[in-house]
């Protein structure tokens, strides 16, 4: 049994872990829950040897162990799949999997055939659509995420820690992964499963530990707690999270704000037409890589469009760039905050104000006091947990970073917001807050195109949902309720049953 006892970790002013307790038993899948910034990733990294603890001890079967590097952890049989990956884009899949493994050596040299075969098997097992000699940089998010798990399993660990690996996976991929995990579990593997998706936790895990503010609140059997209990333990508040879905009648469909006609983007988007009306939240649903991300980026101007027209506020757009789109009242929010959202070394203040500064003449002056108070207001309104407004954004937890990006765009009062899986890795509470904010703004006339990898999230927030499949819209749902979830799931897999209502 792997046990972490009263672990503390201090980052500058932030106490990421405060006497936290956690244990993993062989043959058990254990869930670790907590809101954004509660210290889940931190304890995972402590166990992985990537972060040094300040206090506390770690034991295996009662004996204390020292984890000074990832090498130590691997030697103790602990392997991790990281929330932000540990893959090298510049290397191939097989080089990544066997970066440090003697499993494929013959007399000290790489046995290429053996390595290829093993990699091939693994890719097949995980349903990853890549060749062993594909460069990892060219894989999409969900394949990377699966590969991250596969890489951890290559070490044949006794303890496997998975930090939000399902955050960008689709249902079918989740099922594949869970099958593999259950099989490993039967062979005695102990798994720690960190996630914000409760249904998956219920589906896979037996026991759960819940963190709040770096402390362990409870460790218990999952059968003994309800959804509401968990939320209570995570947040310390008794209120249930409200369903955000609004009762408002479908937006008046007179003048579309944005009209997209026969849009094509390279080979990813074939021929997409849709209208977006003021005040509506249009959900976009689809498996990973069906063209929805490219579609959103093309509308925003960061991908080149190859065919079709975009008519915005009655005018046909001719030149495209994020800068132009932003200036004309569009905003874009990506869920991939590390590479597309956050300026980690810059202050929270700068992170919030950057888009506004992009709107102005490049040498325009800034009135610090005015923007500072606006930023503070937004932070309060969005309930972002920060230290000082001058601290670097890297000092925030993932969910809070995501809220910063929302704050950045809200400052601009955009008329159209394009969202690419914006709540990826955001905890339930923050997610519902974000959805509340979006809803509030759309009531004032703002329109959204909202893509999410989680269709439950979509049914909660959208007025209307379109489904992308292989670069085309193959279905549209106008009446949103939880009942359509099964239809959505079917449509995502390409069931050509046009739900014209």
């Amino acid at each position: 049994m792997l046990a972490a006892k009263s672990i503390s970790k201090q980052y500058g002013q932030t106490k990421a872990l405060d006497q936290a307790e956690l244990s993993m038993k062989p043959g058990e899948i254990h869930a670790l829950l907590g809101s954004n910034g509660s210290g889940k990733s931190t304890i995972a990294k402590v166990l992985g040897g990537l972060v040094g603890k300040n206090e506390g001890e770690i034991t295996i079967d009662g004996k204390e162990i020292q984890l000074r590097s990832a090498k130590d952890s691997l030697a103790q049989g602990i392997a991790l799949a990281y929330q932000d990956y540990s893959l090298v884009d510049q290397l191939t899949v097989e080089e990544n999997l066997f970066l440090n493994s003697s499993g494929t050596l013959k007399m000290g040299f790489i046995d290429y055939k053996k390595r290829f075969d093993q990699t091939f098997q693994i890719l097949k097992q995980f349903h990853i659509s890549a060749q062993p000699d594909t460069y990892v940089g060219s894989l999409n998010e969900s394949d990377k995420s699966l590969l991250e798990v596969a890489k951890a399993l290559v070490y044949k660990p006794r303890y496997l820690i998975l930090d939000e690996v399902t955050a960008c996976l689709h249902r079918d991929q989740v099922l594949v992964l869970f099958d593999i995990l259950r099989k490993e579990k039967k062979e005695g593997l102990s798994i720690l499963f960190i996630s914000h998706r409760f249904d998956e936790v219920y589906e896979l895990c037996e026991t759960v530990t819940i963190f709040r503010n770096g402390k362990t609140v409870i460790t218990t059997d999952l059968t003994k707690v309800t959804n509401d209990d968990i939320v209570y333990y995570m947040t310390g508040q008794k209120e249930t999270i409200k369903k955000q879905h609004n009762e408002k009648q479908a937006a008046e469909k007179k003048e579309p704000l944005l009209s997209i006609q026969h849009l094509g983007v390279g080979t990813q988007v074939n021929d997409v037409s849709l209208n977006l009306y003021p005040g509506e939240i249009l959900g976009v649903c689809g498996l990973q890589g069906q063209g929805q991300s490219e579609f959103l980026r093309a509308v925003y101007g960061s991908r080149k469009i190859s065919r079709g027209n975009i008519i915005y506020k009655g005018k046909r757009l001719t030149k495209f760039s994020p800068e132009r789109s932003l200036k004309s009242g569009m905003a874009f929010i990506s869920g991939d905050r590390n590479s597309e959202g956050i300026f980690a070394d810059r202050s929270i203040f700068e992170n919030i104000n950057i888009s506004r500064s992009a709107l102005r003449f490049i040498f325009h002056g800034i009135r610090l006091n005015k923007s500072m108070s606006e930023a503070n207001q937004l932070i309060k309104k969005l309930d972002v947990v920060i230290g000082e407004i001058g601290d670097p954004a890297s000092s925030l937890s993932g969910g809070n970073q995501q809220k910063l990006i929302f704050a950045r765009d809200l400052l601009l009062n955009p008329s159209v917001v394009l969202l690419d899986d914006p709540a990826k890795g955001v905890d339930v509470k923050a997610r519902s807050e974000i959805q509340g904010i979006l809803r509030g703004l759309s009531d004032k006339g703002m329109a959204c195109i909202y893509y999410s990898s989680d269709y439950k999230e979509l049914t909660a927030v959208s007025d209307r949902i379109v489904v992308f499949y292989e670069g085309d819209i193959i279905a549209e749902f106008n009446d949103i309720s939880e009942e359509i979830e099964s239809d959505l799931a079917a449509a995502m897999l390409g069931a050509t049953r046009t739900e014209a209502e």
Partner: protein, 339 residues
């Protein structure tokens, strides 16, 4: 049969990270053949091309290995000067083979020193090696205050000779180094070095010591630098404490010409060698054109020697831009893959 072979070669080329470098080199060779004709394609021209450029080619390979692991070495030139100064000076007091072995070991040791500073002290390599290069320039002068000394002429005749009637011995040295690094690449270390450059955190997580890996890369680079220094000594057949200094910047330009990514983790040693050879051939063409084709001493009032330098640099910039080819290539490949 022939056809499928061609396709296989072509595919392998396209997959190569040095794709553009090879194409560029080929292009330049063709241009040169068109200009100079048979004058270029004869054994003695080719031999002299390799003979003179082997130090640069090896320095570029050494530079590439350091760049793979996320570093850069501005002191390669000064290291080569130290090797040269030591080999010549020590050669006066001890048997020449011993002196040369000592000079070589110094380069290896210096590789280890640079590696420790970059890996363990974590000082940005570009500045650390800038400081080291100042230091080593002083050391070379201390070892050999004035240019001079000589080596047995037999060394030069071997180094400058040809094998089997048409293969330059100097090219064989390059081949040996390339094969040597190929062996490293057949061990996990090859990919580990690139991981250390591209994403050290991932390498650490894989349980491999980033510091040690970088160390190994710098030592490997030191070994190759040592060979480069000895080749330059053979070429010059004497000592000069400043002889290698220009190689630092030239080798960096050549690695980039060879398709190596300066930010680490991407490229091949073969590409690097091709990049260096590219520079050598540019010099060759420029000499030929200005010596044999252009017959006035000024052009539009500008001295030809200035135009000659201008043209050299412009060709180099064009060569550097050719990485555009692979860049576009990568982009389209990625787009296809996304599908």
């Amino acid at each position: 049969m022939m056809h499928t072979l061609m396709i296989r070669v072509e595919n392998k080329m396209k997959k190569s990270q040095a794709y553009s470098a090879y194409i560029m080199l080929l292009l330049l060779v063709i241009i040169n053949l068109l200009i100079q004709g048979a004058g270029f394609a004869n054994v003695s021209t080719i031999n002299s091309l390799f003979l003179v450029n082997t130090p640069l080619i090896l320095a570029t390979i050494a530079q590439a290995v350091v760049i793979f692991c996320g570093g850069i070495d501005l002191s390669i030139g000064a290291t080569i000067s130290v090797v040269n100064a030591f080999a010549i000076t020590a050669g006066q007091y001890m048997p020449v083979p011993l002196a040369w072995a000592g000079a070589f070991l110094i380069a290896v040791l210096l590789g280890a020193v640079k590696g420790s500073i970059a890996a363990y002290l974590r000082v940005p390599a570009i500045l650390a090696t800038f400081a080291i290069s100042t230091l080593l320039e002083g050391v070379a002068l201390l070892i050999l205050p004035n240019p001079g000394g000589s080596i047995p002429s037999s060394i030069y005749s071997v180094y400058g000779g040809v094998f089997a009637g048409f293969i330059p011995i100097s090219a064989l040295v390059i081949a040996v180094v390339l094969i040597g690094y190929g062996i490293v690449n057949r061990r996990p270390l090859g990919a580990q070095i690139k991981a250390a450059g591209a994403n050290p955190r991932s390498l650490f997580i894989a349980g491999v010591s980033v510091e040690r890996t970088k160390m190994k890369a710098y030592v490997a680079s030191g070994i190759i630098t040592g060979i480069a220094g000895l080749c330059l000594t053979a070429l010059a057949s004497s000592g000069d404490p400043k002889i290698g200094n220009a190689l630092s910047l030239n080798s960096i330009a050549a690695t980039i010409l060879g398709g190596v990514d300066l930010s680490g983790g991407w490229g091949t040693v073969g590409g690097a060698a091709a990049g260096a050879l590219f520079l050598g051939i540019v010099n060759n063409i420029i000499f030929f054109v200005f010596n044999n084709i252009i017959h006035s001493s000024t052009f539009a009032g500008i001295k030809l020697s200035y135009l000659q330098q201008l043209l050299t640099n412009i060709i180099i910039i064009l060569g550097l831009s050719s990485s555009l080819l692979t860049h576009l290539k990568k982009r389209t490949e990625k787009e296809e893959k996304d599908k």
